[in-house]
Amino acid sequence: MAVKKNTLAIKDQPKHLLGIQNLSVQEANDILKEAKTFIKLNRSSSKKSDILRGKTQINLFFEPSTRTQSSFDLAGKRLGADVMTMNVANSALKKGETLMDTAMTLNAMHPDIIVIRHQDSGAPNLLSQKVNCTVINAGDGWREHPTQALLDALTIINRKGKIEGLKIAICGDILHSRVARSNIYLMNMLGAEVNVIAPKTLMPKSIERLGVRSFTDMKQGLGGCDIVMMLRLQNERMQGSFLPSKREYYEFYGLTPEKLKFANKDALIMHPGPMNRGVEIDTKLADDINVSLVKEQVELGVAVRMACLKMYCKK
């Protein structure tokens, strides 16, 4: 007797990129490898490919963002996807619609990818449970910003050849930083040693359990480091009781040419942007093309996001 296959029952589960924590080393390396191929494409005169032609990508940004949003926008377009960016500030969410309702509404439009940035940690996870397309986390609360960590890794590999065996310092507001967390996970996975440096009020509890060494002193923390990642100190932190003043913060934690000498001679500087010049970093240092990778980070960000979109989008 012929058995009729019930193809409806086998439903393709979409893959999501919710955080570095959910990635295997293999997956991380695959993304980085794929991203390398896009660097060249992005530098060529004809940047368009048709890998995602016919696919729909929705950028759902609940938090204002310049570089991440434009980076994802460009990445989708260069792959040939139809990209729509939701201006959430004016949307129904302001009228009391919940994240879940918005998710269901968008889901009904059959997108293939939703890129979400949200101020609440875990929002992309919640979204991924309710939609049947790929969800890519573009930053949630203080938890994760996986594509930022991946682009940082790609930038380091581009310059230093590899990550394994390097010593990386992450300095600044670790407590409120998703960039710091994603980088801690990824750099550890790829074999680097990670130091975090922050005043005690901006250091999360039990951070050592994430596999890092923590310091409150730049001299100690930067010792022997190959990469110095500076984090943005948000202005609202200055108004609370976290720190006495910008002046004092700059004195002890601002990256200056003098403090950079504590690190290895050929140490390079990174910053996820936007920078507060004169608060966390000396303005000349930030622009010094011999040590600063800031522009390269932005450039490779597009390539990494193209790789993620390509690899996570349902075929």
């Binding site: 924590q21 919940t98 994240l99 879940m100 949200h118 609440d120 940690s121 875990g122 929002a123 996870n125 919640l126 949630d140 609360g141 203080w142 938890r143 994760e144 998703r178 967390r181 999360p204 509890k205 039990s206 951070i207 359990r209 994430l210």
Partner: protein
């Protein structure tokens, strides 16, 4: 009602130091006529109904010192009828209801309403509490005297602690004179601001604002200092950390009189159970480390903690289907209170008698109510359970109107078979 005789029971009644095989006779008015190993069938009238308990355990009906009923204002979460069903299925016969309803229970007319409404709709004994301060604003104390006369058993701002030391001093001073029970939710808001889980590795990983144990400890230390000056009936609703327990130990040992509760959530779960943002495990006080949980169990063992509460907090699905920081706080628990408490017996952490004591006579004593005991003449509020029967907790089978259990799919041992209220069989599984 005819007389009843419950035979072949293992009776555990810590109020009279009883743990023995025997029988219980319930008289026509629903009171205990006789109890214990010496009771014979002939002690009951010949027409008495005989119920064979087949060596299952019989204890006084459970007294739950902290449960939220949605009436008035939140009927969509829970009402008197659904709460009663859930309670009886869990062997709970007396409930202290929380006053953070809408409107709040902070004045005499609201007490009248809740007592009348409860009498009509509820099928368990209700002991309403009122707010400690008007509008739970932490500023002006409520009418302790007048409200007590109306039947209020205790005063609490439930999810809020009185932040002003001056106000708290006045409250305790005033209460020390008229003898009312103050039930404090120990949490310093400035320290716990925007916090939603324990501050530690899990909060760091999930990127959530943590609540330090200090937020709880500092209020307990403050209040106990005040209590030295103004000895009133003071009870801490729920503690969650071993650091709080150390403060309690020090003060109890120095002879200070006060009582302490703990939620079954903090006894049966820890912060790791939150996993990948399970909002049903967002509770207050937050789940902490396994070390804290173990310390709390020890605290019960050594009498530093007096009662276990369900902290029954029904929340509808909408309130929980949100990003963790925005999701509603609390879990239902009245129906699963006993089986979860029995886990501490099955894993040999606590003697059975100790567990039953914290669920029956201890809360009754703190509240000064005539419950939690099966002494001759007491109301025949009884819970009968099978100590070993295994079962799996399923939210959709729980009787509460809201299904936000923190222990979905948990395998437990021990099941309530029958619950008697004033001698009448009110629940049978």
């Amino acid at each position: 009602m005819t007389e009843k005789i419950l035979i072949n029971a293992r009776i555990i009644d810590p109020s009279q130091g009883m743990d023995e095989k025997g029988s219980v006779v319930i008289d026509k008015s629903g009171k205990i006529k006789s109890i214990g190993k010496g009771v014979k069938k002939t002690d009951a009238t010949p027409s008495a109904e005989i119920i064979d308990l087949k060596n299952n355990i019989l204890i006084p009906g459970i007294v739950d010192m902290k449960a939220f009923v949605g009436e008035p204002g939140y009927e969509y979460k829970e009402n008197f009828r659904t709460l009663s069903h859930a309670a009886l299925a869990g062997g709970v016969t007396s409930i202290v209801t929380m006053p953070n309803t809408k409107p709040l229970i902070d004045n005499v007319s609201m007490v009248d309403f809740i007592i009348r409404r409860g009498r009509d709709k509820a099928s368990v004994n209700l002991f309403p509490s009122a707010t400690l301060t008007r509008e739970i604003e932490g500023k002006q104390m409520t009418e302790f005297g007048l409200l007590s006369v109306k039947g209020i058993v205790g005063f609490t701002d439930v999810v809020k602690a009185v932040q002003s030391t001056e106000t708290m001093a006045k409250i305790m001073n005033y209460a020390s004179d008229i003898g009312v029970l103050i039930m404090q939710h120990a949490e310093d808001y400035e320290l716990s601001k925007n916090g939603c889980i324990n501050e530690g590795e899990v909060s760091t990983r999930l990127g959530l604002q943590g609540i330090s144990y200090i937020a709880e400890k500092i209020i307990i230390e403050r209040d106990l200092s005040l209590l030295n000056e103004f000895p009133c009936r003071y009870h801490i609703n729920q503690i969650s950390s071993k650091e709080s327990l150390e403060v309690i130990k020090r003060n109890k040992e120095s002879g200070l009189n006060f009582t302490v509760g703990v939620s079954i959530n903090n006894l049966s779960l820890n912060e790791n159970d939150i996993g990948d943002f399970k909002t049903f495990l967002k509770v207050s006080p937050p789940l902490r480390l396994e070390d804290d949980r173990l310390a709390l169990v020890e605290g019960i063992k050594f009498g530093l903690i007096d009662v276990i509460v369900s902290d029954h907090t029904p929340e509808d699905e909408e309130g929980k289907r949100l990003p963790f920081a925005q999701a509603a706080t609390g879990a239902i628990g009245i129906e699963t209170l006993l089986p979860l408490a029995l886990e501490m017996y099955h894993n040999e952490s606590l003697p059975l008698k100790k567990i039953i004591e914290t669920l029956t006579i201890n809360p009754a004593k703190i509240l000064k109510i005539n419950k939690g005991t099966l002494k001759k003449g007491a109301d025949a509020d009884i819970c009968v359970f099978n100590l070993d029967m295994p079962w799996v907790i399923k939210a959709n089978l729980l009787k509460s109107k809201s299904k936000n259990t923190a222990v979905e799919e948990r395998k437990v041992q021990g099941k309530v078979l029958m619950t008697f209220l004033n001698g009448k069989l009110a629940f049978k599984s």
